[in-house]
């Protein structure tokens, strides 16, 4: 279960539209306890893939991740997950998403069709099956 504000979801939808036809990506900060994740703030990050590849992949550099982890430590937050967009495709994790996924984190995906964000969903890895399972979003 992922608790997040409506404003944050709207921001993610707007980032996704502004980046179209490229994928956007960013980091979710908050707290994790007993399967409950709460998002306190989100950070938009530059997609470090090349110009063409950005249309169907995203990557966050290790240096960006280091800065994010330090920011989290300094502000008493945890990294609880990430978001990215699927330009032209559904808000369902791709095989590549699964290949790159880590347990615990929430993976929010925004589906952008013809420049408009139509759907935002969250997913997390089921540790037993090692597959993505949909994660319920609760607005606070």
């Amino acid at each position: 279960m992922l608790t997040i504000s409506k404003e944050n979801i709207d921001q993610i939808a707007a980032f996704a539209e502004n980046s179209f036809p490229h994928e956007c990506c960013g980091i979710l900060f908050g707290s994790v306890a007993e399967q409950q994740k709460i998002v306190r703030e989100i950070m938009s990050v530059t997609n470090s893939c090349g110009n063409n590849e950005r249309m169907y992949h995203f990557e966050i550099t290790p240096e960006q991740m280091l800065r994010a982890e330090k920011y989290a430590v300094k502000n008493g937050l945890d990294i609880v997950g990430f978001y990215h967009s699927h330009p032209g495709f559904a808000a369902i994790p791709s095989d590549y998403d699964l290949h790159c996924a880590f347990p615990v984190y929430s993976y929010i995906i925004a589906s952008v069709i013809e420049g408009k964000t139509l759907e935002v969903r969250s997913w997390t890895i089921n540790i037993a099956s090692k597959l993505f399972a949909p994660e319920k979003i609760i607005y606070n």
């Binding site: 430590v73 945890d78 032209g88 347990p103």
Partner: protein, 486 residues
């Protein structure tokens, strides 16, 4: 030295939810080992299956520096240092069109009518059809696989289709190469195929190359196209197409078949394995017979070639689940299908981490595939022309003729009063040959008969042996036109 290690959220399931752990050690390696000793479960997440190499998707930072840029595990630490374990974060949508965004293409009313069944599919639609119109596809080989590929891609509205083949249409092609007709016998395959494509869809631009694809022209030719469909029938061409596609970053939509079995996949090094990842070297020459030697059921290339056409269309339109990293294997006789996962080889000489093949121009494809050394390695086999054999038989010379063909082939056409001995039995039946008499071995086209002579030589037979050059087919052409060729 006391060092503080920060654990990312995802790894805290292994550290009893602790986010910061103080550990002692002199180097980064020692600290990580101590961590793994205290929390053994974390090893699964940190190390590869060999339990030594750190997984590539975890980066270790000492202060602000990635230890990859320092001395790795050997990097010394001092009191008060901080180590952060940082997961590598990436992902993406399903494979987009290999064409990216297409601008400036328009569909006329005639085109909208012609392609309406595509336009009704939301997965293709106007956007996908414009991509097909903008796309350039090269088909290598206009035989059994190339025929349906060319027909369906033309019908689908692929804007530019390149055709490369240096063969002419033969009667024995028509059982499966449905793009050619009876009246095309003797014409270059590319010319015959171009006519058929124009008949199906005059809107398609067709570029023909009546020449072999070789290491000199491959980069120029393949460079002009967005995707290559490999419908060739030999290993040199397959390796050449693969290597050129890897080096130019293009997908190679592959198909192959033999008798009743076929396979198809998409070799696309950007996204998955290439042909060399799967087959580092071709099989020894002569081990795998060609369709001309072993036969093929005529429908099979139709099935495999249309699978290839479908993959080409998906790559152009984008989306779906392409056969990248998957090998699709089909058995038409038992009607079985397998869909195998295939993996990239990090040590692949062309698409791996340290490639040794970086250009194709100077690569000896014939040598690599054993074509050039064929004559050097084996003692040459003495051949006899069909007409010369006829002359000697007419002179009443005593000659033993051995037919090494399979029983079902002998049922197609008998050869004189030849004695039938399959190659597998030659060794143990050599007593049936008279070493004082010339023995001539015959088969369909004079290749298996060479193998027969070499086999008997290895078995120690000392009598004089000859190979009927170009086989029974040559006899039918040059000596006895009443006999069929097959």
């Amino acid at each position: 030295m006391a060092v503080k290690v920060y654990i990312p959220t995802t790894l805290r399931i292994f550290t009893n939810q602790r986010s910061e752990i103080n550990l002692d050690g002199d180097t980064v390696g020692q600290i990580i080992e101590t961590l793994a000793d205290e929390y053994p479960e974390i090893k699964k997440a940190l190390y590869d299956d060999d339990k030594k190499t750190l997984r590539s998707f975890i980066n270790i930072f000492l202060g602000d520096d990635n230890i990859k840029n320092l001395d790795g595990y050997q990097t010394p630490v001092k009191d008060g240092d901080e180590i952060m374990l940082i997961p590598a974060i990436a992902g993406g949508s399903p494979l987009e069109s290999i064409l990216g965004e297409v601008k400036g293409e328009k569909l006329s009313n005639d085109e909208i009518m012609r392609y309406s069944r595509h336009l009704l599919l939301k997965e293709v639609g106007i956007k996908g059809q414009k991509k097909l119109k903008a796309a350039k596809v090269l088909i290598v080989g206009l035989g059994g696989l190339g025929a349906p590929l060319a027909q369906y891609l033309a019908a689908a509205g692929v804007g530019t289709i390149g055709l490369i083949d240096y063969d002419e249409v033969e009667e024995s092609n028509l059982q499966r190469q449905v793009i050619h007709g009876t009246r095309d016998i003797g014409r270059p395959k590319v010319a015959s195929a171009k006519d058929s494509i124009k008949q199906i869809n005059p809107l398609v631009k067709v570029e023909t190359y009546n020449m072999p694809l070789n290491a000199e022209n491959a980069v120029d030719l393949i460079g002009k196209y967005d995707v290559v469909a490999d419908a060739s029938d030999n290993y040199q061409t397959r390796y050449l197409v693969n290597d050129t596609c890897v080096l130019l970053g293009k997908p190679d939509v592959f198909g192959a078949m033999y008798q009743f079995e076929g396979q198809a996949t998409v070799y696309y090094a950007k996204e998955g394995p290439c042909y060399r990842c799967l087959y580092p070297a071709p099989p020894p020459k002569g081990l795998v017979p060609s369709c001309a030697m072993g036969g093929v059921v005529g429908v099979l290339p139709g099935i495999i070639g249309t699978i290839q056409a479908n993959e080409v269309i998906k790559l152009i339109v984008g989306g779906g689940e392409p056969l990248v990293g998957r090998l699709w294997m089909f058995d038409a006789w038992h009607m079985r299908l397998k869909d195998l996962k295939i993996c990239k080889d990090p040590n692949c000489p062309v698409c791996g981490e340290n490639p040794t093949i970086t250009e194709v121009e100077d690569y000896d494809y014939d040598g690599f595939c054993g074509v050039a050394q064929e004559q050097d390695e084996e003692e040459p086999v003495e051949g006899i022309e069909a007409k010369e054999l006829k002359r000697r038989l007419d002179n009443g010379e005593k000659i033993t003729i051995i037919d090494v063909r399979e029983p079902h082939e002998r049922a197609i056409v008998r050869f004189l009063d030849a004695k039938a001995i399959p190659i597998g039995q030659l060794g143990r039946r050599q007593d049936e040959l008279d070493p004082n008499v010339d023995t001539v071995f015959v088969c369909k086209e004079g290749k298996r008969s060479i193998l027969a002579v070499n086999t008997l030589r290895e078995e120690g037979y000392k009598g004089p042996m000859y190979n009927l050059k170009d086989g029974i087919n040559a006899w039918a052409r040059e000596v006895d036109p009443s006999m069929p060729e097959y």
